[in-house]
Symmetry: C2
Subunit: 324 residues, 2 copies
C-alpha cells in the first residue's frame, strides 16, 4: 500500500507527462496554464487512495484521477468568471489574462477533455465510473447555482447552506473516493460508505475553510484573513452569527453588509469581534467535528482491515487540523 | 424504413416527454426554455436516419439523439454569450434573460446532461459512442476558438475558414451520422464514409447559410438579410471578395469594416453590390456544390442498397436548395 505522500507524488509525476496541448494555441495555452498552476491535488489523490485501499491498481486508475483533477479545474475556471476573481493560487485567473470568452471556452474544452481521460480507463465497470462522474458533474453545477442564489437572497438558513456545500464541494470529494472504489472492484455497501465518508469529510473541509478565512494564519500566497467578510460571503460563520446575535450586533453586521469601500480593515475587525464574542469559532468547530465524526463512522463501516483505512483516516485528520 | 419527416416527428414527440426539470429552478428553467425553443432538430434526426438506414433500432437510439440535441443547444447557449447575441430563433437568449453567470452554468449543466442521456443507451458499443461524442465536443470547442480568433485577425484565408467551419459545424453533423451508424452496428468502412458524407454536407450547409444571409428571403422569424455583413462576420463571401476585388472595391469593403452605426442599410447595399458584381454568389454556389458532390461520392461508397440511402440523399438535397 502507498502512503498519501507517495500517491500525491505519483499523481504529480503522471500529470506532468500530460501536455494539454493542441490547436488553436489560444485555446490550449490557458488550459495548460491552469493545469500547471499547482494546487493540493486532493481529489485525484483521494481517488487513488480509495483504489489502493480496496486493493486496486493505482496505475490503471491514473487516467480517472487525471479526469477528476481536470474537471475540478474546469469548475474553478468558470467559477472565477462568475465571481469576477482576478487571482487564484497567487496567479492571475484565465478570464483575467485571456478574457471571458476564452475562459468560457477553455472550461468547456476541459470538461470534454476530462471525459476523454475517463474513456481511457480500460475497465469492465467503465460505465458505472462514467455514471458516477456525470451525476457528480450535474450536482456540482446545481451547487454553484445555489451558491449564486444565496448572494441575492434575503435570508439563507444553515441547512440550506450545508445542502449547498454538499453539492458544490462534498459531492466531488465523495465521488473521487467512489470512483477509486469502483475501479478496485469494491462492493455496493462499501462504495456507499466510502461515499458517505467523502460527503462528511467534504462538509467538514468547507467549514474548516470558512473558519480559516477569518481565524487562520496568513497562507503561503500571503492571502490575508477576512476575504469572506470583505466580499459579504454567506459562510456558516456569518449565517450562524445572524441567527444568534442580539439586535445591536445584528445591526452592525447588516450595516457593514454591501459596504466594501469605506474602511475594509475596520469591517474585518468589527465582524471578527462579533464572531469572537458569540463564540462562532467554537460553534463552527463543533459543527465541523460533528461531520468529521460522521465521516469516521462511515469509514469504520467499510469492510476493510483497519490498516487499509489508516491512510484515509489520517488524511481526514490532517484536513481538519490544518492551519491554512 | 422511416422518412425524414417521420423521424423528425418521432424525435419531437420523444423530446416533449423530457422535462429538463430539477433544483434549483433558477438553473433548470433556462435549460427547459432552451430545449423547448424549437429549431430544425437536424442533428438528432441525422443520427436516427443513419441508424435506420443501417437497420438499427431508432427507439433504442433515441437517448443518443436527445444527447446530440442537448449538446448542440449547450454550444448555442455559450456561443450567444460570446457573440453578445440577444436573440435566437426569434426569442431572447438565455444570458439576455437570466444573465451571463446563469447562462455559463446552464450550458455546463446541459453538457453534463448530454452525457447523462448518452449513458442511458444500452449498447455493447457504448464506449465507441462516447468516444465519438467526446472527440466531437473537443473539436467543436476548437472550431469556436478559431472563429473568435478570425474576428481579430488581419488576414484569414479561405482554407482557414473552411477548416474552421469543418470543426465548428461539420464535425457535429458528421458525428451524429457516425453515432447512428455505430448504434446500428455498421462496419468501419461504412462508418468512415457516412462520417465523410456528413463533413461535406456540413461544409455545404454552412456555405448555404453564408449565401442565404445575403441573398436569401426574409425568414419566418422576420430576420432581414445582411446580418453577417452588418456584424463584419468573416464569411466565405467576404473572404472571397477580399481575394478577388480590385483596389477600389476592396477599399469600399475595408471602409465599411467596423462601421456599424453610420448607415446600416447603405452598408448592406454597398457590400451586396460588390458581391454581385464579383459573382460571389455563383462562386460560393460552386464551392457549395463541390462539397455536396463530395458528400454524395462518400454516400455512394456506403455499402447499402440505394433505397436505404435515398432519404439521406434527399435530405442533403433539401438542405442545399432551401430558400431560408
Amino acid at each position: 500500500m502507498y502512503t498519501y505522500e507517495e500517491l500525491l507524488e505519483k499523481f504529480r509525476a503522471s500529470l506532468e507527462k500530460e501536455s494539454f496541448s493542441g490547436k488553436p494555441a489560444d485555446l490550449y495555452e490557458p488550459i495548460h496554464y491552469m493545469m500547471t498552476l499547482g494546487g493540493k491535488r486532493l481529489r485525484p489523490v483521494l481517488l487513488l487512495m480509495a483504489c489502493d485501499a480496496f486493493g486496486g491498481d493505482t496505475d490503471a486508475a491514473m487516467p480517472a484521477a487525471v479526469a477528476i483533477e481536470i474537471f475540478h479545474n474546469f469548475t474553478l475556471v468558470h467559477d472565477d468568471i462568475m465571481d469576477g476573481a482576478p487571482i487564484r493560487r497567487g496567479k492571475d485567473t484565465i478570464w483575467h489574462i485571456w478574457g471571458e470568452d476564452t475562459a468560457i471556452l477553455a472550461g468547456d474544452t476541459m470538461f470534454a477533455i476530462a471525459f476523454d481521460y475517463l474513456l481511457r480507463v480500460d475497465h469492465p465497470r467503465n460505465k458505472d465510473l462514467l455514471k458516477a462522474f456525470t451525476k457528480m458533474a450535474m450536482k456540482v453545477c446545481e451547487g454553484q447555482q445555489f451558491d449564486m442564489n444565496f448572494e441575492s437572497e434575503e435570508h439563507t438558513s444553515i441547512p440550506d447552506y450545508l445542502a449547498m456545500i454538499r453539492l458544490k464541494t462534498a459531492v466531488l470529494l465523495a465521488t473521487s473516493l467512489e470512483m477509486g472504489a469502483i475501479l478496485a472492484g469494491a462492493g455496493e455497501e462499501d462504495i456507499k460508505n466510502i461515499f458517505a465518508f467523502g460527503i462528511n469529510i467534504g462538509l467538514a473541509f468547507q467549514l474548516k475553510d470558512d473558519l480559516l478565512d477569518v481565524f487562520g494564519q496568513v497562507d503561503i500566497f500571503g492571502k490575508m484573513p477576512g476575504g469572506d467578510i470583505l466580499s459579504d460571503k454567506k459562510t456558516f460563520l456569518l449565517l450562524k452569527a445572524l441567527t444568534i446575535a442580539d439586535e445591536k450586533d445584528k445591526k452592525v453586521i447588516e450595516q457593514w453588509f454591501g459596504d466594501n469601500t469605506s474602511d475594509p480593515e475596520q469591517k474585518i475587525m468589527d465582524i471578527t469581534a462579533i464572531y469572537s464574542k458569540l463564540n462562532i469559532d467554537k460553534i463552527a468547530g463543533t459543527e465541523m467535528e460533528r461531520h468529521f465524526e460522521r465521516a469516521i463512522y462511515h469509514l469504520d463501516l467499510v469492510g476493510l482491515p483497519e490498516d487499509k483505512k489508516a491512510e484515509l483516516e489520517s488524511l481526514a485528520e490532517k484536513m481538519m487540523y490544518r492551519t491554512h
